[in-house]
Symmetry: C2
Subunit: 199 residues, 2 copies
DNA sequence: ATAATAACTGCACTCATTGCCAAAATGGAA
DNA sequence: TTCCATTTTGGCAATGAGTGCAGTTATTAT
């Protein structure tokens, strides 16, 4: 990752490939854009793309790994005196908060990921890493192993909430992601209290 | 789908392909088994497999479409006087109830799906149909459109519960899927009531 | 026997992905 | 300047999934 002082310099970068790829995806669609197209548009070899991204499906995710570290820190900084579900809920909201002006590229990224079947499928593998971050936080608070039922469930439920909010957001870009997430959490709590009241 | 009275008879069946494929998957692994291998083992053309399954990834799912109809009926028959979340929870439990003796092939199927990265990814597309069944049920009860936030969230949360239970079940085959699902639901309700008590 | 029908399957092609390795580019050393 | 170590690039070949096309094959109906 660090810039080598010796050796042949890199001809391109993750960001450059990503940018060109997104332009082509927007023009012709994800499936109709071949890696050859992208390589040719960049003036590099097709083989070189694989030195920057593990697969075509990984291109839209770009920097997700780094983003995950921020999420971990964010959760760790959450006050321990609020209920677990509230802490995770707040963490998810904070994680997905960003200025409305900076959204356009982010909207495009998420739209591509959520609307392209091949990417919907591939993304599960990324989501698993995200869930793991939550499972580890929950496990710490519950003092159990991260692989046990409760931490895993918390990760899955948080993902359920986030995915639902994102999908609505794409259909209704005026609504803020934040309020959709909060609305989802309210619904979840309301359903649970119905059950509690009935039993 | 109906047996044609005229024309060349089918040389194989979904079940036959599925069975042979599973045997080879078990022997060499999913990725290492090519469609040519499966076709050859069956003595049919590779091309013919595509007349029965849309893709290699679809083979492990076999009859899921038909299963989904049963799930729809099951939810529709759920009493309307119990809370929505309880009804969905009970529906999911019932849907996944099956005799412990009949499990072995089902375990193998789920293990393959849940442990093979390519299948984990592909399965999202199947899960989406499953979630849709729940979303439609929830929408009917809530008297809103199935595409709105609440029904969609209910589908996602139910899937979160089911996936968590299945994953635990694979690691701990002695535990019944039913009790894992119920344990998950109890955890979810407990977390929600913590939040309710704190606010 | 012939026709109609429905399924099977070989052929050729596209495209993602991977292993292998020679070529290219650069800073530093001799 | 020339040579060397280092690092990246990218061509080549091979594998395997997926797809359109067209000819072949097995049955039933006339």
């Amino acid at each position: 990752m660090k810039r080598a002082s010796v050796g042949r310099p890199e001809v391109t970068s993750h960001a450059q490939i990503e940018q060109t790829a997104f332009r082509l995806f927007a023009e012709r669609g994800f499936a109709a854009t071949t890696l050859d197209d992208i390589a040719q548009a960049l003036g590099i070899g097709r083989r070189t793309i694989f030195r920057y991204f593990a697969s075509k499906n990984d291109i839209p995710w770009g920097q997700f790994d780094r983003t995950l570290d921020g999420f971990r820190d964010l959760l760790a900084a959450m006050p321990a005196d609020i209920p677990l579900l509230a802490a995770v809920g707040r963490g998810v909201v904070e994680f997905n908060r960003f200025p409305a002006d900076a959204s356009p590229p982010h909207i495009e990224r998420m739209r591509l990921i959520l609307e392209t079947p091949a990417l919907q499928a591939h993304s599960v593998l990324r989501y698993a890493e995200w869930r793991q971050v939550i499972a580890e936080y929950a496990a710490r608070r519950l003092e159990v192993e991260p692989t046990t039922l409760e931490p895993q469930l918390m990760g899955q439920v948080a993902l359920a909430l986030a995915l639902t909010a994102y999908e609505r957001w794409l259909h209704e870009p005026d609504a803020s992601l934040t309020s959709l997430l909060e609305e989802g959490m309210r619904s979840l709590l309301a359903w649970a209290s119905e059950v509690a009241a009935a039993s």
